[in-house]
């Protein structure tokens, strides 16, 4: 017989192409995969608990599919969140870098780790994700950095979100110990049926218990023992005898638990969850003594602990971070934390406020370095961390010494996750420039915390303004701080493709009297532009003109060629209804169509009016 093909480690290695090492960096960042995950956990835990801050940085499989899906200057916090949510739900995190660090005067002591993640359906339940989207440009860029996709897919760490873990627990049907919260719920008056039920179960339990304890003394034939088991419905739970009591409702569960309290000296009740949620049965386990009872409880705990750990995977680290309550530092916090929330906590809530509340429960303080940057002065938003560091280096004298005590990587593979260290560095610099670093090491953490608190939890901010933005403002185009209400913004589409804003503006000028006053035009994508009116009220006049049958002049020609207009509320509806067509014009068309056929005016106007009456955007001269 010819031996069948069997993969040997050697083969796998020769088969996988080694990625070429380019641009080697000196920062020793620990690379963590499935193989060294468990052994690294305790070390990470120590570093997290001794750190002042934890920087995080993600490498995802994509961000936005079409130009208009990108969070842009004309977005309100709400639409920005919806855009970030859409991306977070579709794309996948392949690398999660964390870096617990300490800030000591002009020194940053950092312990960077880079985790390679891959969602694996280990429980065959379609979790953590059934599928995910990849953008070729992102994968190509990662490939250029020498990313090893084989390591990632073969050896990436899987995970489950908190919400998924609780569904899994139910579906796996593991017995759960009864905690006192569920036990001591108020018991209403007993009906006759309840009493009958309780008494029947009580007598069964009593007989079974007596039989079990008796059989310890008497020596019976094997046959008799097994017969007894069948008759009394007893079974084994581990090494201990147990008995399953079937229940039909949650009420009966309560009744059984209450009744079992009478036997609490030797019986330990366990709840067997049903597959579809709820309770399938209550199991009573007989213990021989108080010590044995404690032992059983401990056994159950460790069993659950081990199993949960296996199921949670990488989320263990998220839980450690969350439990430490340390402030987190990120570079693009809205993007990163929508991803973190959707992959590791729970599905993203429908709006920004709920998201922030939900996130705050897990991570009380999130600091965006971009926001700190705004306090320094009129700095343009920089997306590149290295460029920002270079910029600060030229303008301020704030030398930061980076100390990374991690041992050099044992495996010779490519080192990834430099961004997280750069974030630490940038944060250190910013703190030193803004004088929020305690000068002396002995000063308490509390001081630092209160200083930093001012900058925490701002996910979406206006440029140039240092106070926390309110929900009604939209970021400006560039440096100009002229605020524009959403009411003065009109979305315009249905013109010929590849037209420039200038030409469109020229076409509009003179087409109607509303364009006699100052107005600006900006392209959103190839299919759609926004028009901003300088004088309040003109936008409504324009929308009315567009809707009325009696359009005249050059505008009429444009309308007959397909020109359409809609207010900001339509755009908001596009984002909230999830019509992420690749061209904004198509999305607006679809939204208008579904809105018209539905015409549930009450819901719509209520929402948009509240928003629009005081919503502002900053606009520059175009």
């Amino acid at each position: 017989m010819v031996p069948k093909f069997k993969p040997s480690p050697l083969r796998i290695r020769s088969f996988c192409t080694k990625t070429v090492q380019q641009n080697p960096h000196h920062w020793p960042i620990k690379q963590i995969t499935k193989t060294n995950f468990n052994e690294s956990l305790s070390e990470i835990k120590n570093h997290i608990s001794s750190s002042d801050f934890i920087a995080v940085s993600l490498q995802n499989t994509g961000s936005f599919s079409s130009p208009w899906h990108r969070v842009s200057t004309f977005d309100t916090p709400e639409t920005a969140y919806l855009k970030a949510k859409f991306a977070a739900e579709r794309f996948q995190i392949l690398q999660f870098a964390i870096c617990p660090f300490k800030l000591q005067a002009s020194k940053v002591i950092a312990y960077p780790y880079n985790f390679h993640l891959f969602p694996r359906d280990e429980l065959k339940m379609g979790m953590p994700s059934y599928s995910f989207t990849c953008q070729t440009s992102y994968l190509t860029a990662m490939a250029k950095e020498g990313f090893d996709f084989n390591t990632c897919i073969y050896d990436g760490i899987s995970y489950l979100s908190e919400a998924q873990e609780s569904t899994v627990k139910v579906r796996m049907g593991n017995p759960m110990a009864v905690d006192h919260a569920t036990k001591s719920s108020s018991s209403p008056a007993l009906s006759v049926a309840d009493t009958v039920f309780i008494e029947r179960v009580r007598s069964r339990v009593k007989h079974w218990k007596n039989a079990c304890t008796d059989s310890d003394i008497k020596t019976e034939a094997a046959l008799v023992t097994s017969l007894r088991k069948i008759v009394l419905g007893g079974e084994q739970f581990g090494s201990r005898p147990s008995m399953t009591i079937d229940v039909c409702s949650e009420r009966q569960v309560q009744l059984v638990l209450k009744m079992l309290e009478d036997f609490s000296d030797v019986l330990v009740p366990l709840i067997i969850p049903a597959k579809g949620g709820g309770t399938q049965a209550v199991r009573a386990v007989l213990t021989s003594s108080d010590e044995d009872k404690d032992l059983l409880k401990r056994e159950l705990q460790t069993f659950e602990f081990e199993q949960n750990k296996r199921v949670r995977g990488f989320r263990e680290v998220i839980d450690l971070i969350s439990a430490s309550q340390k402030p987190l530092v990120a570079h693009n916090s809205l993007n990163d934390f929508t991803f973190i929330h959707s992959k590791f906590l729970a599905p993203l809530p429908p709006n920004m406020n709920e998201f922030i509340c939900s996130l705050r429960l897990a991570f009380p303080q999130v600091i965006d370095v971009n926001y700190l940057l705004k306090d320094i002065g009129p700095v343009k938003k920089m997306t590149n961390i290295s460029a920002t560091i270079a910029y600060l280096k030229n303008r301020f004298f704030a030398p930061i010494e980076m100390e990374i005590p991690n041992q050099a990587n044992e495996n010779e593979g490519k080192i990834h996750g430099h961004n997280v260290v750069k974030i630490c560095q940038l944060f250190g610099k910013l703190c030193s420039i803004l004088k929020i670093t305690p000068d002396a090491i002995e000063s308490s953490d509390d001081f630092l915390a209160s200083a930093i608190n001012r900058y925490a939890n701002i996910f979406y901010s206006l440029p140039g303004s240092s106070q926390e933005p309110t929900n009604e403002e939209i970021r400006g185009w560039t440096n100009d701080k002229r605020k524009v209400s959403c009411e003065d913004v009109v979305f315009l589409w249905g013109f010929r493709e590849r037209i420039s804003a200038g030409i469109l503006k020229n076409m509009l000028q003179g087409s109607h009297e509303v364009f006699a006053e100052a107005f600006n035009v900006r392209m959103v994508d190839r299919s759609c532009a926004i028009v901003v009116f300088g004088k309040p009220g003109l936008s409504n006049t324009f929308k009315n003109v567009m809707n009325s049958k009696a359009v005249s002049g050059p505008l009429r020609e444009m309308v007959s060629d397909g020109l359409k207009a809609a207010g900001y509320e339509t755009y908001q509806r596009v984002c909230s209804s999830g019509l992420w067509e690749s061209a904004l014009a198509d999305a607006l068309d679809k939204t208008l169509a579904s809105h018209n056929c539905l015409s549930e005016a009450a819901y719509e106007t209520k929402q948009s009016e509240i928003y629009l009456s005081n919503e502002l955007i900053n606009l520059a001269e175009l």
Partner: protein
């Protein structure tokens, strides 16, 4: 006469041809670096081939559990599901194995190629970014078979579909045409509005003079054979002689963009256009292979390849048509002859006998039909049946001795498919020795009845003929599907979703049976945990059920609360509609994991969609047998089957207590009153 190559030579030849791979099976791995050379050699192999076997590896099969292949898929729904899969997932490996009969050696020679492909966004196209979906289980599956993702993403061959190429070319054309038009336009405007633009005209004229001066000077210099001397000192800073693409040119400084446009040289623009077109041609990449297969009109052999063909269409030709009919007719235009080995093995009784009734999965068929190839020719003597000899040639080195390759590597799968086909042909009595090389194998009368048949759905054995567009169910000769199953009448089906999660198929059946009687429901089938198909015994019950549900939703009085259907409607989110709505939802590009979420995302806001009347045409009435229980395990090879939660044949109704039956009678009576 067989020539044996020493193992070492074989290994070296093989390892030199590919940068990294297994040492066991001679397979030509093609990546970016060796694509051009591989393509030119493959061109000859394909031209000389009798048939070409293909196989694809994708990043996933179904974008949501409810998009899986079901028994309850009508052919148009089935097509929509295949379309969705082909549109969302990426092809990352493409196996091409051309087979040629060598009359001298009395054996087939094949050249198995394994292409790593990965579409990169190489052209600055507007609009959406290229993206694709990965199904986590599929990625895990590929990883299990040591798929080299690095080779694919780092070094995969990119491609452009015909449609993308046309679009890009059109874009280039319009860019250069538009600009020239614009500038022409502006020039005309300038002439029209003389008074305001006289300075422009003057400037243009001055430029013309200077250019001709420069040109004249240049030519003069060339005649004299001396160095270029700028003869106009005053414009030294503005004019500078440079070389543009081997031609003398001048670079222009100190002009405004408007001025530049006026003096832009047309030749330069043409050069740029040609450059842009060249880069488009260069990014066609792997599509050259497909174009070759199409233009050579060779017999294409695949194994259960309907999805593969759909992928080829959407990746290399253009967007998939909306209907199966259009798809089939265009596929037939591009590939006139396709044979599916899975159908071949299942439909022919001789082959079934040969297969000894084993599963028709590719690896199984390969090991049963071609044991001597599967094990390498070392064991030829063990086999008594007449076997077709196959030799593998990679980079001009032939071998007939190898170890087994890696399953689910496209190149090896294509090789296996080809071997299975060659062996099957021999069992069918096709004598390759008699077969003249000029004659197309597809026209052989013994094969004719099998050509261009594809499984539309392996799950329910529906076959489609690509050349005629006819759909048939698997022929009766198939002894694996001998059971007679109730035919599915799609107008008898209602889809229900959003019901309380604790309700299972059995509960729903019981609930509806209480209203319409024990024989009203033929089966209840879980689409996923949030949706079921309810198959009624008569079509008119569909509208009755929907009417009743609608009225119960509307009236919230005690009578409707006590109605037997109330259990199903509990929670107030239960929706129901006819099969047509299911089709509509399948045609959406959105893919939510749960069906109930999908319906919401598609924009369904009603809770019941009533059917107008029951006098619908019976065109969808298909006369096919459908397996009620989970079909043969081999179908897990391509499409994982969901557990069929059918209750039609079980004794569920008899499990109802007599009280309940009486109850249901009363309700029916009550309804009649």
């Amino acid at each position: 006469m067989k020539k044996r190559w020493p193992i070492t030579i074989l290994y070296r030849a093989f390892s030199s041809s590919t940068t990294s791979t297994t040492a066991s099976f001679p397979l030509k791995h093609v990546k970016k670096s060796n694509f051009d050379s591989a393509l030119s050699s493959l061109r000859h192999h394909i031209q000389a081939a009798d048939f070409v076997a293909i196989d694809l590896e994708m990043t996933g099969i179904t974008s949501a559990p409810w998009r899986d292949s079901f028994e309850f898929d009508r052919f148009d729904v089935r097509y929509l599901k295949v379309k969705d899969s082909a549109e969302k997932f990426a092809v990352i490996q493409f196996g091409v194995s051309p087979f040629r009969w060598d009359p001298l050696k009395q054996s087939f020679i094949t050249h198995p190629h394994n292409f790593f492909i990965f579409q990169r966004q190489e052209l600055p196209l507007d609009g959406a970014a290229y993206e694709f979906l990965c199904q986590t289980t599929s990625m895990d599956f590929l990883a299990k078979y040591q798929f080299d993702f690095n080779a694919c993403i780092h070094e995969g061959v990119s491609y452009l579909s015909r449609e993308q190429e046309d679009k890009a070319l059109k874009h280039v054309n319009s860019t250069y045409k538009d600009e020239s038009l614009d500038s022409w336009h502006s020039l005309k405007e300038i002439r029209d509005t003389h008074l305001f633009n006289i300075p422009d005209i003057l400037f243009a004229e001055r430029m013309k003079d200077r250019l001709s001066e420069w040109l004249g000077g240049l030519l003069r210099n060339r005649d004299e054979g001396s160095e270029v001397q700028p003869s106009f000192n005053d414009s030294k800073q503005q004019f500078e002689t440079i070389f543009f693409k081997m031609r003398p040119a001048i670079s222009l400084n100190g002009f405004t963009s408007h001025q530049l446009r006026l003096i832009q040289l047309k030749e330069v623009k043409d050069e740029q256009k040609i450059d842009a077109e060249m880069s488009i041609k260069a990014s066609i990449g792997f599509r050259h292979v497909i174009d070759l297969l199409s233009s050579e009109k060779k017999l294409i052999v695949g194994h259960n390849c309907f999805l593969d063909i759909a992928h080829i269409y959407s990746k290399f030709f253009g967007p998939l048509p909306l209907t199966a009919e259009e798809f089939i007719s265009s596929v037939n235009k591009y590939f006139p002859h396709i044979i599916d080995t899975k159908i071949l093995l299942n439909s022919n009784s001789i082959l079934q006998q040969r297969m000894k009734k084993s599963s028709t999965s590719l690896s199984k068929a390969f090991s049963v039909l071609c044991p001597q190839i599967a094990l390498g020719s070392k064991s030829t003597h063990l086999s008594l049946q007449p076997s077709v000899k196959v030799e593998v040639e990679v980079d001009d080195i032939r071998s007939s001795n190898w170890n087994s390759g890696v399953k689910h590597e496209a190149g090896y799968d294509a090789f296996m498919t080809g071997c299975v086909f060659a062996q099957a042909c021999s069992h069918l009595g096709i004598d390759f020795k008699q077969q003249s090389s000029s004659e197309n194998l597809a026209h052989n009368e013994k094969l004719r009845e099998h050509v261009n048949l594809l499984y539309l759905s392996w799950t329910n054995g529906e076959i489609i003929n690509l050349s005629t567009g006819n759909r048939t169910s698997e022929s009766l000769a198939s002894n694996k599907r001998k059971n007679h199953y109730p035919k599915i009448l799609f107008e008898c089906i209602v889809i229900v979703w959003g019901f309380p999660s604790h309700l299972k198929a059995w509960d729903i059946r019981e609930c509806i049976s209480k209203v319409y009687g024990p024989t009203s429901v033929i089966s209840v089938y879980h689409v996923d945990e949030t949706a079921v198909f309810v198959q009624f015994s008569r079509a008119e019950m569909v509208s009755k059920f929907l009417d009743l549900k609608e009225s119960l939703d509307r009236n919230n009085d005690p009578i409707s609360v006590l109605h037997p259907l109330a259990k199903l409607l509990e929670g107030g989110n239960t929706c129901a509609a006819s099969y047509e709505t299911y089709k509509e939802i399948c045609s959406s590009t959105v893919s939510k994991v749960l069906f109930a979420d999908q319906a919401k995302a598609v924009g369904i806001k009603w809770k019941t969609k009533l059917v107008e009347s029951s006098d619908k045409t019976k065109e969808h009435e298909s006369l096919r047998k459908v397996k009620a229980v989970n079909s043969d395990p081999s179908c897990g090879e391509r499409t994982k089957n969901k557990n069929f939660d059918d209750v039609s044949n079980d004794s569920s109704y008899s499990q109802l207590s007599s009280d309940e039956i009486i109850d249901s009678f009363y309700t029916r009576e009550a309804k009649q009153i």
